[in-house]
């Protein structure tokens, strides 16, 4: 079990550690004590939102602005939750943590993995390990600052690779091009209309609109 969780989570480590470190370095460069990087990693646990929070806080933005911007940035999690209802409803006490700790990557892994739906230890364990990579990354970045010799340019491509691999796995499972086409069309439309800042949110909302259209042909089991 522990091995399974670790193996599933390892690709995420390649993405979260360097990204978290980039965040820690950024925070440290603003003269903020290192433990704030740790605290933000633990309690916010959101990549883009943490970078945005730093920018907004250093521009002395109001709390309400931070609130609305963060809400808009991460509103897509509502849709992730919708797709995870059946997985999460049997989690028991770990459910609140799994909902808090859901990320793009954890969502992608959970919706592709073959592990039994009722296995709450896998879901909570994977969420926690991914969370740990992120917190360790944030902390390391803040503590080591820019004294890092290793040129990690491009290492965040691992998350792109992870998404591609999971998409291939989904394809092997269903061989149904319709959801992928729906994603491409909604993504292209969202990019044209809303630009890159809110690309994901409106892309996913666009996909939701296609559900009734595609749904007619999908077998119900």
């Amino acid at each position: 079990m522990v091995r399974e969780v670790f193996k599933t989570s390892l690709p995420v480590a390649f993405g979260y550690l360097p990204l978290g470190m980039a965040f820690g370095v950024l925070l440290q460069n603003l003269g903020i004590p290192w433990y704030w990087a740790t605290a933000m990693g633990v309690f916010i646990f959101a990549g883009a939102a943490q970078f945005m929070a730093v920018a907004m806080l250093s521009a002395k933005a109001g709390l309400f602005d931070v609130f609305t911007a963060t809400l808009l940035l991460n509103l897509r999690h509502v849709f992730y939750g919708l797709a995870m209802i059946n997985r999460f409803k049997c989690l028991g006490s770990g459910r609140l943590y799994a909902i808090f700790g859901l990320t793009d990557e954890t969502f992608s892994l959970l919706s592709t993995s073959e592990v039994q739906i009722g296995d709450s230890r896998f879901v909570v364990g994977l969420t926690a390990l991914n969370h740990l990579w992120w917190v360790v990354g944030c902390t390391l970045g803040a503590v080591l600052k820019s004294n890092i010799e290793f040129d990690s340019t491009g290492i965040d491509f691992s998350l792109t690779c992870l998404f591609v691999v999971l998409l291939l796995e989904q394809w092997f499972k269903s061989r149904d091009p319709k959801p992928i086409l729906a994603g491409l069309c909604a993504g292209a439309a969202s990019l044209l209309v809303f630009g890159r800042d809110h690309f994901l949110l409106f892309g996913i909302a666009g996909v939701m609109l296609t559900i009734p259209l595609i749904g007619k042909d999908v077998k119900n089991d």
Binding site: I85, T160, L167, K178
Partner: protein
């Protein structure tokens, strides 16, 4: 917490089937758009590395291997071959 009818409704069931691949498609686009195809930089490293990931994964079906090959190739191309482009 949620009524049974909500978790078993046709919309949620169909959504469960359609959302994961559709969202993964969007996440691939998003991660490429955001970090790798920013203006003025060559898209070749990303294209070549993506091709490698897909080929290796279709042949070996080993997620970790595919991701390592793709990331290593991308970093190599980005840092050494296409450096400064």
């Amino acid at each position: 917490m949620l009524p049974k009818s909500a978790t078993q409704s046709k919309f949620v069931q169909i959504g469960n089937r359609i959302l994961p691949p559709a969202i993964l498609t969007l996440l691939v686009m998003y991660s490429l758009k955001n970090t790798h195809l920013t203006s003025g930089q060559s898209a070749l490293p990303a294209i070549l590395a993506l091709a490698a990931v897909i080929i290796v994964h279709i042949i070996k079906r080993n997620a970790l291997l595919s991701i390592l090959v793709g990331t290593a190739l991308y970093m190599f191309l980005k840092q050494i071959i296409f450096h400064g482009l």
